[in-house]
Symmetry: C2
Subunit: 418 residues, 2 copies
């Protein structure tokens, strides 16, 4: 197979389909998204068959348990995909929205119209549900999508892509609006990363190795996050039980996600009662604590934390804990070691909450909420195509709006520049 | 001089100053911007002296007339700089603006807060007024700025920078918030382009050579436009005099600017009256017309246009003219040859205007207005740091909003993820 020629053709087809998608009316796009949802539920048998082939191949290749779990399709995960698509269909169409259309002193009206980006390329690993989620968001936002899933999920992704194509056909939209790369050859990724003419943005989702490679090599702009070193700071002006519940949820609700807390910061005035309670809860949940000296004075079983622990994203049942003097030290710690992903303060003090919200420069900054809530669905975006910790364009969970841009529109009646 | 070490120090100082700028209150930032305006007017003599040294050096090196014109500071251009700064001071502060703060089903409130990008690096040529404009916009938007002007304007830029530093001191802000690169060594640009740690975005302004080099080499994200191949399409449902006035202004109001019309498209049904009038006007204004066959049938003096003319940005008194069947052909021409900068339709037909606005994918799309109006000041942005034809982040004239980003803020009361 000539990978270069194949990817070039995929790109050109996507560019053609993007033109049709940009002009597609809302009801047509919604019809496609709903038809995809129905097709997924109707072809559950095909999806299970394809998924079984991936799971068997994965077992043969000795995939670890976490990878297998992410790979597996269940009745429940298929329903969740279909529900996600139905939610996306219900969201307002961002394309063509005109905002801020105001008269200027010269008499022209100037406003902004939201438009699709064009062709979105999503490069991801293991979870086959990304195939459906990403397709739904790209279609609704009037874009064409090129999807490159992991080789370990190729059959599952192809079965899902078949449902997507049925939905597109049913709505009369071009099937090239969502193309799944049919080869597992890694050279295909290299070609995608260089295809500036045909791809407007690349969204990489996966492990650090993948993201680092893509960031380094991509000639096309990317929307991404590399690390999720998320913090919860428990202030001394707090209700202990509330703080403990937030911190426990932020760590233990799921270990492997980017918005899981990796470091807990506790004000020294409340460190003893907070850490005694949390220590017992985390012990029961099997979470290893790596603490500073002050933490270990309260929790003698804790492993000593080293300088390397603070910037580390464990993605595992491990938590680093540091006792700090107060808000300033907490903000400085987050600034020094954080990854600008998601950070939360637990406090009843409004002035401290105000300072934390303003001074912590992360894609999501929270007051009295678990970092696990940093998510497109929880934020009302319907779903997310990824989370961005970059500052340009989209920041935080990226939904429909992040897949669009705004152009200026000007309406005059013979107006010229003086 | 160790360029690498020097630029590294500039970057680190900028990063430090950015932290102070992000926290600076509106009244302090406004005080600085107004003090800079006053200082420019107070030190007119210094500015003229410095500018004379640049002009003399430029004449010795044989700078062309257009370059010299751009380089020259006059009483009027200095007043314009000061007025621009005062306008920026009057604009609402974008930093900290909270929008869309809504309750979600879980009970958390989710909104977005506008925040500075951090450190903006502007690399530009000849016009010394960019030094003041860029500084004002960066300061008001809570950013630090690194300015790298052209070597031909170094003394003028240094004199302006001295006024900027006086203004910053008067307001109690760090002088490192606006740093002018003190060397004309081109290696400095190479260092800036690689400084991902200390620079958040680079805005290149200047000729194609500069922009192409920066786009190719930059490791830091850029906000830019490369070409300005702007079109006016005169539809057949139009009032001839209105159309003629818009087209003439779009070309002849100024020749060397990126929003100047380079190609005129005319519907065949009105080609004769439109081109006869415009032909005479352009002849008088010294504008050379390069026309398609149908154009030359009406204007026999026109030079035959070749395929190379359509994608060309002349930046000169030259205009390519093509007679088209109607709207579809005009849109297709713009899609094929345009640069997604600014395109305008002249029509009295609302449905055609609606289609043009929707289907032309340029950073500014206009109805019945001259392309020369594509400008931050005309759009009510106060000023512009540049114009972007990219789709990500900022598109069109980039003012205060384009120099900021939005982070998510979440406010709960003990909320956790179920």
């Amino acid at each position: 197979m000539d990978i270069k020629a194949y990817i070039k053709e995929v790109g050109q087809r996507a560019r053609g389909a993007a033109l049709a998608m940009a002009r597609a009316e809302t009801k047509v796009k919604d019809k496609a998204v709903l038809a995809i949802a129905a097709s997924l539920e109707h072809h559950v048998g095909d999806l299970f068959d394809a998924n079984r082939r991936d799971l068997e191949a994965g077992n043969r290749r000795g995939l670890d348990a976490a990878m297998v779990e992410r790979l597996e399709l269940t009745q429940r995960s298929i329903s969740a995909m279909a529900d996600g698509l139905r939610q996306v269909a219900r969201l307002p169409d961002p394309v063509g929205q005109i905002s801020d259309l105001n008269y200027q002193p010269s008499g022209i009206q100037v406003g902004r119209m939201r438009v699709p980006l064009g062709v979105i390329c999503i490069i991801y690993e293991s979870r086959p549900n990304v195939t459906a989620d990403a397709a739904g968001l790209c279609l609704k936002s009037g874009n064409a999508a090129i999807l490159r899933g992991g080789s370990e999920a190729i059959h599952s992704n192809q079965a899902i892509a078949a449902c997507i194509h049925r939905g597109l056909k049913e709505a009369g939209l071009p099937v090239d609006a969502v193309q799944l790369i049919g080869t597992t050859d890694r050279a295909a990724v290299g070609e995608l990363l260089r295809m500036k003419d045909c791809i407007d943005v690349i969204v990489p989702r996966g492990g650090k190795g993948l993201i680092e490679r893509i960031t380094r090599e991509a000639k096309v702009p990317t929307i991404k996050h590399l690390h999720g070193v998320c913090h919860v700071y428990i202030d001394d002006k707090t209700i202990i039980d509330k703080a403990v519940a937030i911190a426990f949820n932020a760590k233990a609700q799921r270990f492997g996600t980017c918005n899981t807390m990796e470091t807990l910061l506790v004000a020294e005035a409340v460190a003893k009662p907070v850490l005694q309670k949390l220590g017992a809860m985390f012990r029961e949940a099997g979470v290893e604590i790596r603490g500073c000296d002050a933490t270990r004075a309260i929790l003698p079983d804790a492993v000593p934390a080293t300088e390397e622990d603070w910037p580390t994203e464990y993605l595992a049942p491990i938590l680093s804990v540091r006792v700090v003097k107060g808000l300033d030290e907490a903000i400085n710690h987050i600034r020094q070691y954080g990854s600008q992903h998601t950070d939360s303060i637990v406090t009843e003090d409004i002035s401290r909450a105000r300072r934390f919200l303003t001074e912590v420069d992360s894609s999501s900054v929270m007051v009295n909420a678990s970092t696990r809530l940093a998510d497109g669905y929880e934020y009302g975006l319907g779903a997310e195509v990824g989370i961005s910790t970059d500052k340009l364009h989209a920041r935080g969970p990226v939904g429909l709006e992040g897949l669009t841009s705004q152009k200026f529109i000007v309406i005059g009646d013979g107006h010229v520049r003086e």
